[in-house]
């Protein structure tokens, strides 16, 4: 499936995204590693959906103007972008940092949203359950921790080690810190507004997630009214990459209904 790159200007934020496929619109929001490694699941989704994949402000080819300080600014930026692109009945899929952004959008307005899919999402804090501090560890260690399968983890660590001084990797780390440094990858005020997520929500989590432990999946499931939870066996923080068929199946059955 061919994806085509576009740029849109939102309040002086030059937002870069790729778009491909046919069907109902689906917005995919990436995690802290950006789109340096393209998840194959997006090609599968593009067979049935009009898939829109932006680089978050400060990541990849998108700019981060001075007015974007935190994830709530990013959320407003995307809500504006959805309007500007004339999208409605939009499926939003967010992984990790992207899941947090999706939630910040949804508590502000679900007006143009059809559904929410959260894959190992950040955004809240469960007391006594620490997340991995991805800023304290080297990129190799971060990559290794992201997989449940040690072999895949070792391969990912090797790729991360080779790339870590590349401009893109440095840029993406800076953008991750901008939004997630303090407090680490959550907004203390998000949890109290999660009842406002009034669209069907599916939570997908790897049962071996060592970056954001599965206790967070349970917490989201409890906090978001009517949400469904799918645990993916033998998967880490990137279940859509590590167990693509299982996640594809879960997503397609959820999105069809």
């Amino acid at each position: 499936m061919a994806f085509v790159r576009h740029t849109i200007d939102i309040n002086d934020c030059k937002l870069s995204f790729v778009r491909g496929g046919k069907g109902a619109p689906l917005l995919y929001l990436h995690g802290t590693d950006g789109l340096a490694e393209w998840p194959a699941i997006l090609d599968t989704l593009a067979e049935r959906f009009d898939v829109i994949v932006p680089d978050h402000p400060g990541f990849g080819a998108s700019e981060a103007p001075a007015w974007i300080d935190d994830v709530s600014d990013v959320a407003y930026c995307y809500l504006d972008a959805i309007e500007a692109l004339g999208l409605s009945d939009l499926h939003v899929v967010g992984q990790s940092l992207g899941g947090w952004i999706a939630l910040e959008m949804a508590v502000r307005s679900t007006h143009r949203l059809r559904s929410l899919t959260l894959i190992s999402a950040a955004g809240i804090h469960v007391k006594g359950v620490p997340k991995a501090d991805i800023f304290m560890i080297d990129p190799e260690e971060h990559a290794r921790l992201a997989y449940a399968d040690p072999t895949k983890g070792a391969e990912a660590a090797e790729r991360a080690g080779a790339d870590k001084y590349q401009d893109l990797a440095i840029l993406n780390r800076i953008a991750s810190a901008r939004f997630g440094w303090q407090p680490r990858f959550f907004n203390p005020r998000l949890e109290r507004w999660l009842h406002r997520v009034k669209v069907p929500t599916q939570i997908i989590w790897g049962d071996g997630d060592r970056i954001i432990p599965p206790a967070y999946a349970e917490a989201f499931h409890r906090l978001i009214p009517g949400s469904t939870l799918t645990m993916i066996p033998n998967a880490g923080h990137l279940p859509h990459v590590e167990r693509t068929p299982a996640v594809t199946q879960a997503m397609q059955s959820f999105l069809r209904n």
């Binding site: 800023f135 304290m136 990129p139 260690e141 440095i170 800076i174 810190a177 440094w181």
Partner: protein
């Protein structure tokens, strides 16, 4: 040349075998390894050492700030500067420096520095630093905002020191309805501001700006890097800002050890300086040194390239050879500093005479020998002894 004595106040009684279980003595080393009774003896010994330097005619005594580590135990250098304020008479007291930008309210430090300046009758030097990378883990401050917070905190503090209050400060990171400092600083317009750095183009550009012309102090680095950064200050002044930098704006900070002979100096300093570099300095990861956004991607790549050179056990021979430390007989040390001055022309030399695990008896011997055999000669060095600055044909950096 002015010669000052700097202390890091390390936890010299650290059980060095922690190195086998922890990759770093910063942030994550459990504080059960700190014994307050030993700490009591160390703090008082270190203050004695700085007071001795003041008595022996150093132009100043210097302290600095680090958090949650065994490398340097002055989370508040103001406390140490206060202790020194009443035990010294004529010398400068330099805080090299305080990380104003780590604070939610930098005016607390502005007030404390003003108090010190008034108590000492204007002997304070205020160093403005951003803190090392690991401090952003200790405080939670976002490193992405480090540089702009640093600059904004500086603007707030300098305005608080110099402008009639009360006034409102309207910044991005700091917003204060009432800025009205009691006391105001003793020195007019304000205490001298220094910019200690491990080598950062951003800091140099900022320090050398004609509105500031602050002293740039290069902290211990290979001598070729010291020369590069100190010359870059002069180059920026001349090429970008159109003025000639005065040599008294340029400083070098380095560990120094003097003994009767070269061989004895190396022998006595070895295990203690090697402990500094191999146990006290290493961090958990590169990111702990340089968290994201702490410096520009270009500076980060330069810094990482420089670091990659020395992994593994550092040896004193390597430190001496690369000019990261000065070590030898009085004659050798005098000659080495004179040579470096001839090349770089710094008029401020900050010597670290205790380092790592160096015990009290050797530190005192080092201080006394340096003060009697080295200091008198190097204090006479002026711009007359400097070979002078030549603008390179191609702009650096």
């Amino acid at each position: 040349m002015k010669v000052m004595s700097f202390h890091l106040m390390p936890y010299a009684d650290l059980d060095l075998s922690v190195k086998d279980s922890y990759r770093t003595v910063w942030v994550v080393l459990p504080n059960r390894y700190y014994d307050p009774k030993k700490g009591h003896a160390l703090y008082n010994r270190y203050l004695d050492e700085l007071e001795l330097c003041a008595e022996l005619g150093f132009d100043g005594v210097c302290v600095n700030e680090h958090h949650q580590n065994a490398y340097g135990l002055m989370p508040s250098p103001v406390v140490m500067a206060s202790a020194l304020a009443r035990r010294t008479r004529d010398c400068r007291i330099a805080i090299l420096g305080n990380a104003f930008c780590l604070r939610e309210h930098p005016l607390t430090l502005a007030e404390e520095h003003a108090m010190l300046d008034v108590i000492t009758g204007g002997r304070l030097i205020s160093g403005f630093v951003r803190g090392v990378g690991s401090e952003y883990f200790s405080f939670g401050t976002n490193p992405v905002h480090s540089l702009e917070r640093h600059q904004e905190a500086h603007d707030l503090v300098v305005r608080a020191w110099t402008e009639p209050g009360p006034f409102a400060f309207e910044g991005k990171h700091y917003h204060c309805e009432y800025v009205n400092l009691w006391p105001r600083p003793y020195q007019q317009p304000h205490p001298p501001i220094w910019c200690p750095s491990m080598g950062s183009v951003e800091t140099l550009e900022w320090a050398a700006h004609p509105d500031r012309k602050y002293v740039y102090l290069q902290a211990y680095s290979p001598v070729e890097a010291v020369a590069r950064y100190l010359n870059l200050y002069r180059e920026l002044a001349q090429r970008r800002y159109g003025y000639e930098a005065s040599s008294d704006r340029i400083g070098w900070s380095t560990p120094v050890y003097v003994a009767q002979t070269d061989a004895q100096a190396v022998d006595e300093a070895r295990e203690h300086i090697e402990a500094l570099f191999n146990v006290f300095l290493p961090k958990q990861s590169e990111l702990m040194f340089f968290p994201p956004g702490y410096m520009s991607p270009e500076s980060l790549k330069r810094a990482l390239a420089a670091k990659r050179g020395h992994k593994g056990g550092v040896k004193i021979e390597h430190l001496i050879e690369r000019g990261i430390m000065i070590c030898g007989s009085p004659d050798t040390v005098r000659r080495r500093i004179t040579e470096c001055h001839h090349l770089m022309g710094f008029q401020e030399l900050v010597c670290m005479l205790q380092f790592g695990t160096l015990p009290g008896d050797l530190t005192e011997k080092n201080i006394r020998l340096f003060a009697s055999e080295v200091m008198p000669a190097i204090k006479t060095l002026t711009d007359q002894n400097y070979r002078g600055f030549e603008l390179p044909r191609v702009a650096a950096e």
